[in-house]
């Protein structure tokens, strides 16, 4: 038996004993793993967004030159590709896709979700963005312009979501916790 098999069995035994003792459920463990992938990865992007919400000068720099502005964070994996940050407003809603493959601003968002690579998302969000957004739960008023940004190997896009109401008293860290990966792709609002 390999060392991995041995450890896998110990992990399985531990989980079974914890479940029998009523200390843990398999669902709770699943949720943690999902959270790690969906929250810890996109956390870099969330910090960028939160700073843009609280620091108008940073926001200007970010919108003018995303790649240069995120260097201020010293993220460990800062990519050299061009990062363009597009801002949602009352009048404009931005959504990001990569129609050719799955180009994605991974330095700030981690790895793309599965649906981002799905051929249906990649083609339909360009053809019928309002409908796709509605399926994600984002119903846009008729007077809101939808802009779809097609990523490439050279240019990656990050959506700067609108700051949610009722967050006036929150500091940068608390605000970052409110920012979701989907909002930074543009398929959710906060």
């Amino acid at each position: 038996m390999s060392d991995h098999d041995h450890r896998a069995i110990r992990a399985e035994a531990l989980e079974a004993l914890l479940a029998e003792r009523g200390l843990l459920t398999a669902d709770a463990v699943d949720r943690v793993i999902e959270t790690y992938n969906e929250r810890v990865g996109p956390m870099n992007g969330a910090r960028v967004v939160a700073r843009a919400w609280t620091d108008p000068a940073f926001r200007s720099r970010l919108l003018a030159d995303g790649s240069a502005a995120i260097r201020e964070f010293a993220f460990p994996d800062v990519q050299t590709d061009k990062l363009v940050v597009v801002e949602n407003t009352d009048r404009v809603h931005n959504v990001v896709v990569c129609t050719l493959c799955s180009c994605y601003p991974w330095a700030v968002l981690g790895l793309p979700p599965r649906w981002y690579k799905d051929p249906a998302y990649r083609s339909r969000v360009v053809r019928e963005p309002r409908r796709v957004l509605a399926e994600f739960g984002v119903s846009l008023e008729a007077d809101v312009e939808v802009r779809v940004w097609d990523s490439s190997a050279e240019v990656r896009y990050l959506v700067l979501p609108q700051r949610p109401d009722g967050t006036a008293g929150l500091d940068e860290q608390a605000l970052a916790a409110r920012v979701t990966r989907d909002a930074m792709i543009g398929v959710a609002r906060l």
């Binding site: 991995h4 992990a11 810890v40 599965r114």
Partner: protein, 122 residues
């Protein structure tokens, strides 16, 4: 969820995503966080056990560093110390599982996230 582990205590990540070489590594990471979230132990208690396990490897370790080996040991140590899962009970259960015939019908579904939860676009 408890604070993600940072710096030397952080699990292996690539492009911001936790990297598991095998499903059991995800299970032990998930167990530790879920138990802390459920109040079974304080996250800092687990952190201290992990620091201890890593420090021991720093002093005595040989060969390749395997993060999740230490993570698993730290979790087992803490649960045993607290009397929640005694080491002998864990050893006995692991032996029983190891003696299952090959191709047993154990359900592995829990190693995989639900297939459709990320795919609302259809």
């Amino acid at each position: 969820m408890s604070e993600p582990l940072q710096g030397a205590l952080a699990p292996p990540m690539v492009n911001g995503e936790a990297v598991f070489e095998a499903p059991w590594q995800g299970r032990v990471l998930g167990m530790a966080h879920a138990l802390a979230a459920a109040g079974v132990f304080e996250w800092d208690e687990f952190r201290d056990c992990l620091i201890e396990a890593l420090a021991q490897w720093d002093r005595e370790g040989e060969g390749a560093f395997e993060y999740y080996d230490h993570f698993q040991r730290a979790l087992e140590t803490l649960l045993s110390r607290r009397g929640l899962v005694p080491a002998d009970a864990l050893g006995a259960r692991a032996s029983a599982l190891a003696s299952r015939p090959h191709g047993h019908d154990h359900n592995h579904d829990h190693d995989h996230p639900p297939a459709d939860r990320d795919s609302p676009v259809r």
